[in-house]
Amino acid sequence: MDPMAAKFIGAGLACIGMGGAAIGVANVFGQFLSGALRNPSAAAGQNTNLFLGFALAEAFGIFSLLIALLLLFVL
């Protein structure tokens, strides 16, 4: 296979990982919202945990995007 073609296919494959991050981030915010609507008075105290969960879930999507960018522009 042409190495350039393999590079682009690899970059495309790496981006699949971002789908998982999308599910994770949606899960974090969705669950927060459903919890917050049940007990709105406790919601404000959980903002730190919300953003922590968001950051941890998002990191893996960013990692796979980074792999794609490395394949496209650096390697």
């Binding site: 105290g45 730190t48 953003f51 922590l52 968001f54 950051a55 998002e58 990191a59 960013i62 990692f63 995007l65 980074l66 960018l69 522009f73």
Partner: protein, 250 residues
């Protein structure tokens, strides 16, 4: 024309400073924008609060709200004892926030889009946690790697897992900020490139260019959100890691 989306991250030498052997030290655009970020931080925090009015002006209110936000975040996650790290946490937050926000302005340089900068910041936090943790708790600091109430036969496995997760912290801490900034700016550049490409086709192309132009505006707003959010996330993680140094037991 497809503009190279990576070109914007190039480091340019502005003023040569000194030469040590084969290595040349230059005043770069990165250094210039770091000075801009520090200058803006100082202008906001010192300049706006110089009046010290009882009823704050708008800028004083911004400075006070930022201070209060960071103080409450640190107090909630690391306790009252964590407040001795408040200068570190506030400096990190303001530096990253200003670098990120200044970077959104076209033709500027985003300091935090280079991993060497974010890695330096993350390693500062990492070594602060280790050094202060051992200084304050002695060998009890290593309780961090063994949560209490774990059955003895599971301990070796848990210690390996906890150690790996502890050692990978500076990597995820720095890559998260840097990659968010990098990816956002590349996306902006690509979508902005579509406008130019469509505009060069003709009248129909110019009409069609409105769609990517609108997308660019929307993405810039999103990037502003990401810039503030990532600065906040970096600081929250710093607070949580500092909490481990102060209270190593789980």
């Amino acid at each position: 024309m497809a503009a190279d989306p990576i070109h914007q991250f190039e480091i340019q030498n502005l003023v040569p400073l000194l030469k040590v052997g084969a290595a040349e030290i230059h005043f770069t655009n990165s250094a210039a924008f770091m000075i801009v970020a520090v200058g803006l931080t100082a202008a906001l925090l010192i300049g706006a609060t110089a009046g010290r009015r009882l009823v704050p002006t708008r800028m004083q209110s911004v400075a006070e709200l930022t201070y209060e936000l960071m103080a409450s975040t640190l107090r909630n996650s690391a306790g009252e004892e964590g407040m001795k790290f408040f200068p570190l946490v506030l400096s990190l937050f303001m530096f990253i926030l200003m670098s990120n926000v200044v970077g959104i302005i076209p033709y500027t340089f985003t300091v935090t889009s280079h991993i060497i900068i974010t890695a330096a910041l993350a390693l500062t936090v990492f070594f602060t946690v280790i050094i202060y943790g051992i200084y304050r708790n002695g060998l009890h600091f290593f309780n961090l790697f063994l949560p209490s109430g774990i059955p003895g036969w599971m301990a070796p496995m848990i210690i390996v897992i906890e150690l790996l997760s502890f050692l990978s912290r500076p990597i995820s801490h720095s890559v998260r900020l840097f990659a968010n900034m990098l990816a956002g700016h590349i996306t902006l550049k690509l979508v902005g490139g579509f406008v130019v490409m469509m505009g060069s086709v003709g009248v129909l192309g110019t009409a069609g260019a409105i769609a990517p132009l609108a997308l660019t505006v929307a993405l810039t707003a999103l990037e502003l959100l990401v810039a503030v959010l990532q600065a906040y996330v970096f600081t929250i993680l710093t607070c949580i890691y500092l909490n481990d140094a102060i209270h190593p037991g789980h």
